[in-house]
Symmetry: C2
Subunit: 342 residues, 2 copies
DNA sequence: GTGAAAGCGCTAACAA
DNA sequence: TTGTTAGCGCTTTCAC
């Protein structure tokens, strides 16, 4: 094994120049069918593989796509990351995951020029920053923003239908008989769109459409939407003596905590309280009871994201005023945590 | 923004040569305190950052560590990946995740020379291949094998205490009164050590030590230890009319399915059946009931893995006959799926 | 203590 | 259709 095979070895073996080998390997035109065959044969015989690092140095690109997510604990982002990486690899790139910790400082640091420089492109799922702040960061690579509807900006934007999904969930609860529906993870609408404020808006829209009033005491925050946060939110609500007969939880992870809290409080699901989550994590189908939830169709989101991003990366990223907004559509998955239609 | 700042720009700004800049930046000796300060000032002023790709080309290394895992669906490997990546970055590398799909072919493909070549080192969690097969693959980079005890081989090996953990779990069930303990995910011991056969061995050892006979009909396979597999295994056991008053499930993911199946069958946990899992996934603390499980101490495993691997990578990987074996120790986390001590 | 030369493996641009 | 030259940004070697 006398060292790694390089392009010049192949060139020598095939009796041509490096350049011709390069052309053949990259499928560029301008090589006779016969030369082409000789080169390919030499490549096979020697087991040659291009040195990606050298190619990158030459191209001035790193081949890395940065994925900036709040965390990786739950299945949501882990699954997204796996999916995006598969798609990226199919096109010669790879995904590097960066965790922002869901904090403002973490996000600001993650999009700083030093941190971003190594990447050819960025997929960013902001939870604290808005579009204006992101565009003010001076990012010089193509960016696809993820997961929320914000004011139009210079970035491509792929989002799930947060409002529509929340309307679906809330309407479902109302139709199945709930009238005092707690919103775990709800946020006041301060003009800034976020996952939480959008889903909160859907919750309100559904109430309005059904003519059911919203009791503001039922709208409770859940910090970072972890299982623990869900658990604590419901426990607090109960301790405060606020009665409810339904819960719309902003994420499935938090819904798992809600279910657990309800069990601890001796409340039966769905008999006493109906519960609907959001995300359609695989786990939901194995909870006791199985969780009714909103499926935001993450797989097609991942495809749209990579498609948009790599298009700009491959085209040398002329960031012009043609930012695209894509909204994927949500549907409800009905399981055991809500009652049969009455 | 006239292009990216490079080392020669810094050299020019500081009035020295590229070489001196390189030396200062890499903390190499042989630069006067004054020159050093001038260079650092220029670096700061210009916001210079080394071009990792060029450095890698020069060094003949990619900076990438391959992490070969069966899948990323559950929290186990996702968490491990996040942890390993954090540790790798702290030392100038990064982790690329490759999924083998837990199949023989998937693993063989993942360790083929073409696939491995881009990596400076490999962390491999094999589920089908044994050490002999891995060493026969002709891998030319340092490798740390993960998670199972196999015959001694040329690779560093970090493993959790599968047997000890299984003994802990099974003994716990016996002590709390179970006598017919189903083993979900159990595998016959065919001489090849794997996560499943080792934990199965611990299950048998604990029975022997307590003088409780094992009923072979209670040892059932669970395919790939997913939630679904756990669900189906228990359902099959029940349909076959095999009675049991305890279940040791080989993974928490599968245990979640077991709990769900038990609920569907009308069996109460822990009153009718006690359940113990393995892995200590975060989810376990929110299931209904909360899952008693074995904690294999994954965080210290991750640290040992990266430490061993990067030591060899940094030293130019002279694969000599000094392979290290590290076993981390397990402990049991007692929650609600088992009864209080009688 | 500092710098000039050479080259890592690849490909754009230009010649032949 | 094929080859030559030059250079991506960095660091090893060796000379000063």
């Amino acid at each position: 094994m006398g060292g790694v095979v390089k392009m010049s070895d192949v060139a020598h073996e095939a009796g041509v120049s490096k350049m011709t080998v390069s052309n053949v390997i990259n499928g560029r035109p301008g090589a006779s069918e016969e030369t082409r065959a000789r080169v390919l044969a030499a490549v096979a015989r020697l087991g040659y593989q291009v040195n990606a690092t050298a190619r990158r140095l030459r191209a001035g690109r790193s081949g890395a796509i940065g994925l900036l997510v709040p965390h990786l604990d739950g299945p949501y982002y882990a699954h997204l990351a796996a999916r995006l990486d598969t798609l990226a690899r199919a096109r010669g790139h790879h995904v590097i995951i960066e965790r922002t910790g869901a904090s403002r400082d973490g996000e600001i640091a993650a999009i700083s020029p030093e941190r971003v420089r190594p990447y050819d492109g960025l997929v960013f799922s902001p939870v604290q920053l808005d579009t204006a702040e992101v565009s003010g960061a001076g990012i010089e690579v193509p960016v696809v923003l993820l997961g929320e509807r914000r004011l139009a900006g210079p970035f491509d934007h792929v989002m799930m239908d947060n409002i529509g999904g929340a309307v679906l969930a809330t309407t479902h609860l109302i139709e199945r008989g709930s009238r005092r529906i707690a919103l775990v993870g709800g946020r006041p609408d301060e003009g800034v769109d976020s996952m939480a404020t959008l889903r909160t808006r859907g919750y309100r829209q559904a109430h309005a459409a059904a003519g059911v009033p919203v009791n503001e005491r039922l709208v409770v925050d859940a910090d970072s939407f972890t299982t623990r946060d869900g658990y604590e939110a419901v426990t607090r609500l109960h301790q405060a003596g606020v009665g409810f007969d339904g819960v719309f939880v902003l994420t499935d992870a938090a819904a798992m905590g809600v279910l657990r809290a309800l069990a601890d409080l001796g409340l039966r699901v769905p008999d006493d309280v109906q519960v609907v989550g959001f995300d359609n994590d695989d786990e939901g189908d194995y909870l006791v009871p199985r969780l009714t939830t909103v499926d935001p169709d993450n797989d097609s989101m991942a495809e749209r994201i990579m498609e948009l991003l790599l298009r700009r990366v491959d085209e040398g990223a002329p960031r012009v005023g043609d930012a695209v907004e894509v909204v994927t559509s949500a549907r409800i998955v009905v399981r055991e945590s809500t009652r049969p239609r009455t």
